[in-house]
């Protein structure tokens, strides 16, 4: 088995386990994916190195929010590559960096070609963006993130139902993606 297909098999299994409800597998999936994304973006944003970490987070958020478009009968590599490339092109378009758009197209295997665990600091602080969210979305996200609480604990702390906490986190992360991308 080549290295790429070994990565594909491992990450795909972690994502599918995560989508079946295994939080630890999902955490590992996102963690490993972020390293591949970082290496991928770093090689392609040589002129915008400060944007790499923002784009990694933005792409992770997109992967998370749209993960239900991944179906068990499809390979992971083209899915992850298509999202990474979409977010990359989106960023370049926003930056109106015409030159960078002319970089040659690469093939989808490039997305898992290298892995980079050394995160630079993101320029944009997602936590600050959270302040713009309505209370019932911000509170569950803050409790679960900052305090590291479970859904049950966060629900008790916030005085909300468990499903309201889940809906709040879900909607909040969707709204966050919109704020970051400036999508209409």
């Amino acid at each position: 088995m080549s290295e790429n297909s070994a990565i594909e098999a491992r990450l795909r299994r972690l994502l599918l386990e995560g989508m079946a409800g295994d939080a630890a597998a999902y955490h590992r999936f996102l963690d490993e994916l972020s390293a591949y994304l970082r290496a991928y973006f770093r090689r392609r944003l040589t002129r915008l190195p400060d944007d790499v970490e923002d784009l990694v987070q933005e792409t992770l958020l997109a992967v998370h929010n749209q993960r239900y478009t991944f179906e068990a009968d499809q390979p992971l590599t083209p899915w992850a590559y298509a999202i990474a490339r979409y977010k990359l092109v989106d960023l370049l378009r926003r930056r109106a960096d015409r030159e960078a758009l002319h970089e040659p197209l690469d093939d989808e295997l490039a997305v898992f070609a290298a892995s980079d665990h050394e995160a630079a600091d993101a320029r944009r602080d997602v936590l600050k963006l959270l302040d713009a969210l309505p209370e019932k979305q911000r509170l569950p996200i803050r409790l679960m993130k900052l305090e590291g609480l479970s859904v049950v604990e966060a629900a008790r702390m916030a005085g909300m139902s468990e499903s309201a906490v889940k809906v709040g986190v879900h909607r909040g992360l969707k709204a966050l993606a919109k704020m970051i991308g400036g999508a209409p």
Binding site: N65, Q66, A122
Partner: protein, 213 residues
């Protein structure tokens, strides 16, 4: 926020995910949109008066099969274009096949008709209103299919919008066929197709604006 903290945040917001969302959203769009088109047709146009006789003619079913086959192929195209990295595969072929069949039937009908009857086969009685009415009926379906697409993850917004538009147009045409009295293949090959292409082009134009995520 550091990326590893961000990953923890996302993982905490995880949980089990239902599968089959893509097909479900599109099916919902067609269900509600198709019902809207059916209501518009029934209220403002009316089902053709001779429907009881028409259902006995093979041409009536062929006329219905044309948009239904296109809707099926457009459904597959739309659900694939809604998912990152999904390949279209043989779908373009399935889109072209119904059009090729109807065009072949139209060519045969025109070739075997008397020269002075050809104009009537092509234009029928209603060619001036047919594409416009199909486009109008497609509006509720188009709202639905674009909504379905918007909640998914299309990475090629022009194509995704076009597929959503064609799906809406084909569903609307199947509904319109219950009203429309035309039965000649040259008419269907021209004006039904033109009617379906209006929402297709509209979808392609709207895609890049509406389908960002």
């Amino acid at each position: 926020m550091k990326t590893d903290e961000f990953v923890s945040l996302l993982a905490a917001g995880g949980g089990a995910v239902e599968s089959g969302t893509t097909a479900r959203r599109h099916a919902l769009a067609i269900g509600w949109g198709g019902m809207g088109a059916m209501l518009l047709m029934a209220i403002f146009l009316g089902v053709r008066a001779d429907i009881a006789d028409a259902v006995r003619l093979p041409m009536f079913w062929l006329k219905l099969a044309f948009p239904v086959c296109l809707a099926g192929a457009a459904f597959v195209a739309a659900t694939r274009l809604a998912r990152p990295g999904a390949r279209l595969g043989q779908t373009p072929l399935a889109l072209v096949a119904p059009i090729a069949v109807v065009w072949a039937m139209a060519a045969y009908a025109l070739a075997t008709a008397a020269p002075d009857a050809r104009g009537a086969l092509l234009l029928g009685q209603t060619w001036t209103v047919c594409p416009g009415l199909i486009a109008l009926l497609s509006l509720p379906v188009l709202v639905g299919t674009l909504w379905a697409m918007k909640g998914l993850a299309p990475t090629q917004p022009i194509l995704a919008g076009a597929a959503a538009g064609l799906l809406a147009g084909a569903v609307a045409t199947a509904v319109y066929a219950l009203h429309c009295p035309e039965m000649a293949a040259p008419f269907l090959a021209t004006w039904y197709l033109a009617g379906m292409l209006i929402p297709t082009v509209a979808g392609a134009l709207l895609g890049p604006r509406l389908l960002r995520w």
